[in-house]
Symmetry: C2
Subunit: 501 residues, 2 copies
C-alpha cells in the first residue's frame, strides 16, 4: 500500500472528473456530491449513505468512498458525527437564527454537530468556542495568539532545516525528557537576567505552557484540593483545574493590580489552600501587571504559609510599555514558585516548546512530564537552538513589541469611536488582548452570537470564569486579524454592542 | 543578549584557555576544574562552590561560572543536585561496590544523585533505570526501542525539510489538536486493512502511545478504579496507572497466549473492573501474541460487561514471523476498544506522533488531548505525511522486520550457549525483546547490578510488575546494540547469571 497523493486544491468539474482514471474516482464522487449540494438536491442535515452502503450502491471500493467523504469533510461540505455517519454541513448556519440564547446555546456554533443542550463542561465550552475562533473567512478578534505573520516562521523553518545537520539522529530513540542541553542553558541565562536566583536543575522542558501548568498541578495537588485563582482566567487554565477535580477559589481581582493580597491572606488562614495559580504579567484575559511590590509581598505571604505558587508568565516577553515586568519567581527564595512559560506566544507557535522553573518541585514535575508522554520535542527544540544561536531573537522581539503597540493603539481608538459610551476599557502595556466591560445590560453571549452572523468572532467574558461571571465583558484579541477589514469589523462589533445596550 | 556558540568538542588545555579572550573564560574555568579532578585534588562527592561564591572568588561573572559548570555537567564530570549545588561526579561508581542489594538499591545507579533509600514509586524506579539504560560506553540490552540506525532517520529528516515548503506556516498558531488531515486519512486507510470497522471520526492524534494510553485512562477512569492488566507490563503503563491512583488487577497470564479469559470473566463478575488495559500483540515484556480467537472472545466478553479495553498495539507492525497479527480492535462492534499505537517503534522515534482509535470515547479522548497540552506536533506530522506520500514505508518495514528476525535468532543462539541450562526462553515472532526466566534462585536485580559493573545493561523483571514479581526474569532488548561486542556482552551476561545460580 502507498500513501495517496494529496487531493487537488480545487476539484475538477464533475464531468471531467468522471472521465479520469481510477486513481481519481474519489474526486469524481466528491464532485458529484458537491454538485448535488449546490443544486439543493442534498440539503443541510441530510445524511449520506454509510461507506459500506455507498460502496455497494456505486460499485466503488470502501476506500474510494471514504476518500471522497474525507475530501468533502476537509472542504467543510459534509461533517462526520461520531458513530452516526456523514451529514451535509451547514444546517445551523442557514437556519433562521432566533433571538440569541444563553451562553451555552451561543456556543452551539454552526460547524459543530448539534448536541443535546446539556450543561457543558469548561473544556467542552472552550473547545466549541475554539472551533468558531478559526472559521475561515471570518474576522477574528478571538483566539489566544497573535497572527502567524507576526512570527519569524520562515526563518525558524530554515533553522529547523539547518539543525538537522547537527542533530545526532541515531540518538532519537533514547532521548529522555530533560530536553536539549543548549536550550536549557539559554533558558537559564535568560531567567538570570530577570532575577532568577535558583539552580539550573530547577528547569523542566515541556511541550508548552498549558502542559507545564498541568505538570505543576500534578506535582503539587490532589483531586478535591482548593486552588486560589484570579477572578478571570484563561479557559485553558480553567479546564486544567476542572479536569483534575480541583476546586477554584476565585480571589477578588483588581483590573489594574491583580488579586487582593488581603483576600488571599484571609483565604490562606481560613481554608486549606493547596496552591495558588496566577498570571501576574499581562494577565489573560484582564491584562493587568501586578506591581513589583505586590509580587514580592505575594511570594512572601505564600512562603509564610508554605503554599506553592504556579505562575503563568507566557506573555512576559510581550511588553511594549517599558521594561520586561519581573515575574514573581524572581522573589522566590524557598523554591515555592513554579514559573511556567513557552515560546508559543512570543517566537515559535506550533513548535510546542515550553518550560517550567519548578523550584523544589522540579523532580516531581520532571517525573510528571515523563509519565505524561515521555516526549521531548527533540527536533523542534534543536530548531529553536539553531535560531537562538544565530541571534535575531531580540530583534524579532523588538519588532513584535512595536507592532503589538501600534495594533493596540489603533484598536483602542476604534473602540472609543464605535462602542457604547459607557464601555469600560483599560489600555495594556503588553500582550495582545483588551478586556472590554460593556454596559451592564449587554449580554456578551448575545454580542458573540450576533457578531458570528456578521462573520466576526470575539471571546465572551463568561468563558473566563468558573462561576460564569463577566456576563457583559469581552476579550478582544487585537493582533489576530491583520487585514484592512479589521477596523470596519471592530466598528460593526461596537454597533452590535450599542444595539443591545 | 545572544545565544552563545556551542562549546568546543574537546576543551583546550588549561594554559591555552587562560590566554583566550573573554568569551572563552568559561572553558578555561572548566578545564581548570577538570585538571583538578584528574589530579585527585577534587574528589568524587566534593562540592563545588556556589555560582555566586565562585563568581566572587574568581572575579568572573555568574554567567561565566554557570557556563563552566554546565559544560562540566554535560561531560559528566560534575553533577547538579536540586537545591544543594554542584558535586564532583563518580562517587558511587568508584566506591567499592558491596554485595548487590535488593531491587531498589540496585536502581541506585551511579550517575543519579544519592537519595534517601525510601520506597520508590514505579515511576521513580523506571526513571532511574532509564538513566542507566543510556549510559555511554555501555552495551545495552535494555531500553524500549530498537537502535536508531534501524530507522530511516536521514530520509525522514529530508522529508521534514521537504514538508516545510508545503506547510502553511502562518496557520501554526491556530492549529487545533485534531492533527494533520492527510495523516488522519493514511492512518484510517491502514487500519481498514487490518479490519478496523469503525468510523474515521474515532481517530485522535497523540504525541505517542504513552500519551495515548494516558488520554484513554483519563477518558474512561477515575482515581481508585480497578483496571485489569497482564501479569507483567511495560513500566510506562505501570506509571500511568500509579499516577492516576488506579488499582491494578494482575490477571494470570500465559507466556504463549496472554491473559486467562476465564480469570478475566471471574474478575468481571466479582469486582467492579472499570477497564482492561492489555497488549495482545508482541506483549511487552512477555512477547506473546494472543491467538485471534482469544482476541475475539476477549472483545465479546468485555462487550457483555460493557467494559472498555485499552489496547496497546505499538509493536503491531514489527512482526517477523508471518502476517501482521490482527488487533483486538478489529473485533470491536460496540466502540468499546481504544486502540493505541504510534510511529515511535516502527518508523520515526523522536517524532512523537501516535494515535488512538477511541471508539465511542473519541470525544472524551480528544478533549483530554486538548486539555493535556493542546499541542499537536504539526511540524513532525507534516514530515511523516511527506515521507508516507513518497512511499518507502513498506520497504522500510520489510527491511526492519528482516533485521529484527536476524538479531532475534542470533541472540537466541548466544543465550542458549551461555546462559544457565535451565533458563527458560521462548522465541518471539515480532517486537525486539526476549523474556528470560532464569533459574529461580537467581535474583534479576543482582544480575542487573553485576552487569552494570561490566558496563552492560538489561531490564530486570521486577520493573514490570506492580507486585514486584518476576524476581528471576530479565527482559532483553536484542535490537539495541548493533556492534560486534554484542555477542561477547551477551555471553558475559550469561556467565553472570550462571555465577548466581
Amino acid at each position: 500500500m502507498r500513501a495517496t497523493a494529496s487531493p487537488p486544491a480545487s476539484p475538477p468539474s464533475s464531468s471531467r472528473a468522471s472521465s479520469r482514471k481510477a486513481g481519481f474516482r474519489y474526486t469524481a464522487l466528491a464532485s458529484e456530491i458537491s454538485e448535488r449540494i449546490r443544486s439543493g438536491d442534498l440539503r443541510p442535515g441530510d445524511r449520506l449513505p454509510s461507506v459500506r452502503r455507498a460502496s455497494r450502491l456505486r460499485g466503488l471500493s470502501p476506500n474510494t468512498v471514504l476518500e471522497a467523504y474525507h475530501l468533502l469533510e476537509d472542504r467543510g461540505e459534509i461533517r462526520a458525527r461520531p458513530r452516526s455517519g456523514y451529514f451535509i454541513a451547514g444546517a445551523a448556519r442557514r437556519a433562521a437564527v432566533p433571538e440569541p440564547e444563553p451562553i451555552e446555546a451561543a456556543f452551539e456554533i454552526p460547524p459543530v454537530a448539534a448536541r443535546a443542550p446539556a450543561r457543558l463542561t469548561a473544556a467542552e465550552l472552550a473547545l466549541r468556542a475554539l472551533a468558531a475562533f478559526r472559521l475561515p473567512g471570518h474576522v477574528h478578534f478571538s483566539g489566544s495568539s497573535p497572527h502567524g505573520d507576526l512570527f519569524p516562521l520562515g526563518r525558524l523553518a530554515r533553522s529547523l532545516k539547518g539543525s538537522l545537520h547537527r542533530l545526532d539522529l541515531s540518538t532519537l530513540p533514547t532521548r529522555l525528557p530533560e530536553g536539549n542541553g543548549e536550550l536549557r542553558r539559554f533558558l537559564v541565562r535568560r531567567a538570570l537576567e530577570w532575577g532568577f536566583a535558583g539552580s539550573a536543575s530547577e528547569l523542566v522542558i515541556t511541550a508548552g505552557t498549558l502542559e507545564g501548568m498541568n505538570l505543576c498541578l500534578d506535582a503539587v495537588t490532589r483531586p478535591g484540593d482548593l486552588i486560589a485563582v484570579e477572578a478571570a482566567a484563561s479557559y485553558a487554565q480553567r479546564t486544567s483545574l476542572e479536569r483534575r477535580g480541583l476546586r477554584s477559589l476565585e480571589l477578588p481581582t483588581d483590573l489594574a493590580t491583580g488579586v487582593s493580597l488581603g483576600a488571599l491572606e484571609r483565604a490562606l488562614r481560613k481554608h486549606s489552600v493547596r496552591a495558588c495559580l496566577l498570571m501576574p504579567n499581562f494577565q489573560n484575559p484582564l491584562g493587568f501587571v501586578m506591581p513589583e511590590a505586590a509580587k514580592r509581598e505575594l511570594v512572601a505571604l505564600l512562603a509564610r504559609h508554605d503554599v506553592p505558587l504556579i505562575e503563568n508568565d507566557v506573555y512576559g516577553e510581550l511588553h511594549f510599555g517599558g521594561a520586561r515586568p519581573v515575574p514573581a519567581k524572581a522573589f522566590d527564595r524557598k523554591g515555592l514558585v513554579l514559573h511556567c512559560a513557552s515560546f508559543s506566544k512570543c517566537l515559535a507557535p506550533g513548535y510546542s516548546v515550553g518550560w517550567v522553573l519548578a523550584g523544589r518541585f522540579a523532580g516531581r514535575v520532571q517525573l510528571a512530564k515523563w509519565t505524561t508522554n515521555a516526549a521531548n520535542g527533540v527536533i523542534t527544540q534543536a530548531a529553536l537552538v539553531e535560531y537562538l544561536r544565530h541571534g535575531g531573537y531580540e530583534h524579532h522581539l523588538r519588532r513584535l513589541r512595536r507592532t503589538l503597540a501600534a495594533l493596540h493603539d489603533r484598536a483602542l481608538a476604534t473602540i472609543e469611536r464605535h462602542f457604547p459610551r459607557d464601555t469600560r476599557i483599560r489600555p495594556v502595556s503588553g500582550g495582545f488582548t483588551l478586556w472590554l466591560e460593556l454596559p451592564e445590560d449587554v449580554e456578551a453571549s448575545k454580542v458573540y452570537a450576533l457578531a458570528l452572523r456578521e462573520r466576526i468572532t470575539v471571546a465572551p467574558g463568561p468563558l473566563f470564569s468558573a462561576s460564569r461571571r463577566h456576563r457583559s465583558a469581552l476579550r478582544l484579541n487585537f493582533a489576530q486579524d491583520l487585514t484592512p477589514r479589521r477596523d470596519a469589523a471592530l466598528a460593526t462589533l461596537g454597533r452590535i454592542a450599542a444595539s443591545l445596550a
